[in-house]
Structure formats: C-alpha cells, structure tokens
Amino acid sequence: MSVNQVKREIPDKYAKQYGVYAGEFTNVKPYEAVKRPIKPITPHDSKMVDSIHDAIVKTGLKDGMTISFHHHFREGDYVMNMVLDEIAKMGIKNISIAPSSIANVHAPLIDHIKNGVVTNITSSGLRDKVGAAISEGIMDNPVVIRSHGGRARAIARGDIHIDVAFIGAPSSDEYGNINGTKGNATCGSLGYAMIDAKYADQVVAVTDTLVPYPNTPISIPQTDVDYVVKVDAIGDPSGIAKGATRFTKNPKELLIAEYAAKVITESSYFKNGFSFQTGSGGAALAVSRFLRKAMIDEDVKASFALGGITNAMVELQKEGLVDKLIDVQDFDHPSAVSMAENPDHYEIDAESYASPLSKGSFINQLDVAILSALEVDTNFNVNVITGSDGVLRGASGGHSDTSAACKMSIVVAPIVRGRIPTIVDDVQTVVTPGESVDVVVTELGVAINPNRPDLIEMFKDMKVPQFTIEELKEKAYAITGTPAKIHYGDKVVALIEYRDGSLIDVVKNV
C-alpha cells in the first residue's frame, strides 16, 4: 500500500503500474508522442461501407482490442450502444472501451459487461445505472477515470492505444471530412473526438447526414478517416442539451453565484482582457449573469471564455463583452449554432484545451475558473465522481485540469444538499487536489485556501462573509449531523487518475 500526497492509500499493484500523485506538475516531463499506422488511400478507393457490421469487419476488430467514442451527444448518443450491440452480435469479446464519457443513455453497457463483451473501461464519468452497477463490482478490472485533459494526454502518450475510433459525425462527406455544426444531431464542437481521430490506428465516421464533397468547415479531416458509414440516426438532438443549462431560479444558487461573481470582480484578475471558464451546474452557470452586470457597470471586457460553452457565454459574446469563445464542447443548441456562424467562436481539441503534456494548453492562459463540486473537504480536496454514499455517479471532466492551471479556481457548492453535507472532513474520493483549489463559495460565505495568502490579502475588505474551511464544515455538520463512515468492500472498482497519469485515489465496491 502506498500513500500519495493527498493521503490516499493506493494498492501496490496499481501504485507500481501508474505511480502515485506527488504534486500538480511533478510528473510533467518530456515524452514521445505515439506513432500510428496509416493505410493510404489511392485515387479510386472508396471509404464508404454499408453498415456498422461491415465497418467492424473491414477494420479487423477482434477480441482484446480497444475502441473509442466521444460524448458530444451527451444524453442523446446512439452511436456507442449501436456499435457495442453489433460487436456483441458478432461474438467479439474482451473489448476495452475508451469513450470520452458515459451517460445514462448507455445503460445497455451493463449487459455487455456481464456478457464479457466489454472487460475494460476508461471514461471521464459514470452515471446513475452504469455507475451503480460498477460500484457493485460487476467488472473484474477497475474502470480508469480520466479528466478531459488527462484522456488527451493518455492518448497522445499511448497510455490508451485506440485500435478503432467510432466517431459519431453530425455531418460527413464520403471521404470523411466531418463537422458537428451541420446535420440532424448537431452537437457543435467535436473537441474530444478530434484527438481520437488524430491518434487512433483506424477511424470510422458514423453519420446520418452524408453531404456532397467537400464538407466544410472541416473539424476532423479526411486524412484522419479510414471508413464512412451512413446510418439512420446517430443521436437525439434534444438529448444533447438535456439537464444542462437552464438558468436557475433557486435563491440559494443565485446567492452562491452572486458571491462567486463578487470574488471575481473584486480580484486583481478582473480587468480588461481577463479570461474565464464556467461549469454547467446551476450556480456555476448563473455566475455569468452577475459577471455580465459587473462587466457592463465597470466597462471591463474579457479576451476569451473557455470550455464547455453554453448559451450564457454566447450571449456575452454577442453583447461584445467577450472577444472570443474557445470551445471544446457545447452544452446546448444555441452554442452549436453560434460556433457555426461566428469565426470568433472557435473549436479546439481536447489536447489544446487541457492536456498537461501538450506544448501549452488553453487552460494555462486562463485567469478564473468557476467549478461545481459534489464534496469539498477541509483540505480543499474536491470530489466530483462519487456520491456521499460512495457510489460512482459523477464525472471528472475538466475539473482537475482547469483548477491546476488557472490563476484562481473557484469551487461553488451549497453548504448542504438535503441532509448531505457538501463541506466535509474527508471527501469520499479525491479528484482535484486541495492545492489546486483557491476559493470555495457557499451560500453562507467563502473560504480561501490558506496556501493563497495573496488572495486572503486581496479579499480582506470584500463584502462577502468569510470563514475558514473548517468553520464552513462545522456549519454544514450543525445542520445535518456528522455522517457515518461509508463501509466499502475490498475490491477496487475504479482508479482515479490525476491528469498527469498518476493515481490520486481509488474507489472500492460498496
């Protein structure tokens, strides 16, 4: 058993294989990017194949290989279920899957795991049913949870070797030029899929909208694509924005957002040319509304807004308050439309978004990030992957990437959710280390990380109640009582990779 820098026990077997977390940038070292084989296409070759079945045959997919998917269709994705069903039907077993994330809509995955079709998973997140099943221990091998930047790093370095990438393409031509802004299931940015296309051995474009050659704009180019398949439907457009981004009317969330906006506007970062990123949670999203008012009042404009893009950011850009939107993923339809129409709303891939091992990612240039959390502990460690009952249900996302890289990371969370305290003694699972988290904002007030004395000085006259993180925890426990410890089993069901590839925590069965 090794104990890492955030005091989490990592079983030796995994500690040896992955290394253990030893600080934000300790493992950022030069490396060699992977090589990939190329099957050249000569002038009279066609890339079109008749079905998913034929694409699987053509790629030579067999037992033990790794396939990948993207999650830009979010709860509207049809592609992963479609491909896995076909693989199961063909009798292929022992497949590793490397989707950029997994949604509720992927519940059929549970049967593929039980039947031995899928035996390894890496993903950013695991939602309700799949998360619960994996927490029960239905897999022999633990799921590897990776952040969005960590996944890009893992693919570029070869930690994930993708044999075949199946890329849901909102539109494609017969030669595999793909974008996400035309077609039936327009998801906007294809940032996560671009990495798969660049590094996978073989790439299959799966589309329901075949357009005349050449399809532009080109998000994923023909030079990265081996085969193109036309199917009836790749996704449900209404599922893409599901549950994401309505403006909250919840007074608690609005107060949190107001406090968070104040932390930004009273910081030295709030000046012309500043940059920010907001998550997709209710409070995180509402921050942009309060920020907007302050930007107008004080005549401050942002140089860029980054990340998962929402309509709230698109509107700020339309008002001239934000110069550029840098977009790795879209959370709603208006954002996808904006990316198609506005050249200053720019699509980037996951590697340039957040990889710790790239030649500099966008998050390194970011001033302020507002992020949500399931739990924060008194060491400022953040959990976004397991519920307070220990069951896998969230997603790593860009949380640890952005927190580590930006100049001021703000975690917004209500002090309690129902009877569940959000500020706790120890988070169930560490995803983002406390050293990356600068300010925690709740509806009762804020706590500034003592490792940022500059911020404590900066905010000493701020008109928002300030507490130590221990005081916030005490206030939470005074409402809910002290929660009993969760009793986990002995089986490791998930490995939590830090963005650099070392293990920051493990999750056991429950």
Partner: protein, 101 residues
C-alpha cells in the same frame, strides 16, 4: 401505550419524511427507507425510537420513508403521527420543547 390503528404524518417530498405508525406486538420496530441510510440510517432510527418512547408509545411498527429530512423535520413528523394515532390535538408544547438540549 399499545397501538391499535394506523396514523401517518409527512410526505415523500425532498427533505421530508413520511412516518406511518402501525400496530406491533412487542416493542418499537423501525423500518427505514432513506436516501441517506448509509450516512444517517442508525441515527434516524434511534431518533424516531427516542421520540416515541418520550411520548410513551412502546409497541409500534414505524414505516419511515425518508427523503433526506433534517432532525427537526423527523421529530416534527414523528410527534404529529403519534398525536394523530392517539386522536389528540392538545399538544404539550412545554414537554416537547424540554426535549431540546
């Protein structure tokens, strides 16, 4: 007191608890369904038993459907169910208040 009929208080809304009291042969038996059972199940069980004992209800089956209620809510719903069970509405506020430490 031994219970002969059934009484209910509360709802299954978020942050509420629905307490149903039914006849039981011997002792207080709590059947708890809660979304925070792992973290607070033992505590909620003990709290409900404690309230019923204070109200001198000794033989009762409790069905509690909890949606993350806080202690104050659990107490209030349990007391209300107990008074309904006895058909009483002259609440002994002073006695109830004296339970708070």
């Amino acid at each position: 007191m031994t219970v002969k009929q059934t009484a209910t208080a509360g709802t299954t809304e978020s942050s509420d608890i629905m307490i149903t009291l039914k006849p039981n042969d011997s002792g207080i038996e709590v059947e708890l369904d809660s979304n925070v059972k792992k973290q607070f199940g033992d505590h909620i069980n003990a709290l409900i038993k404690d309230i019923l004992q204070k109200l001198s209800i000794d033989n009762v089956k409790v069905e509690a459907v909890d949606k993350g209620a806080l202690d104050c809510t659990i107490k209030a719903r349990t007391i209300a169910a107990a008074y309904r069970l006895r058909g009483e509405s002259d609440y002994e506020w002073e006695a109830i208040n004296s339970w708070n430490d």
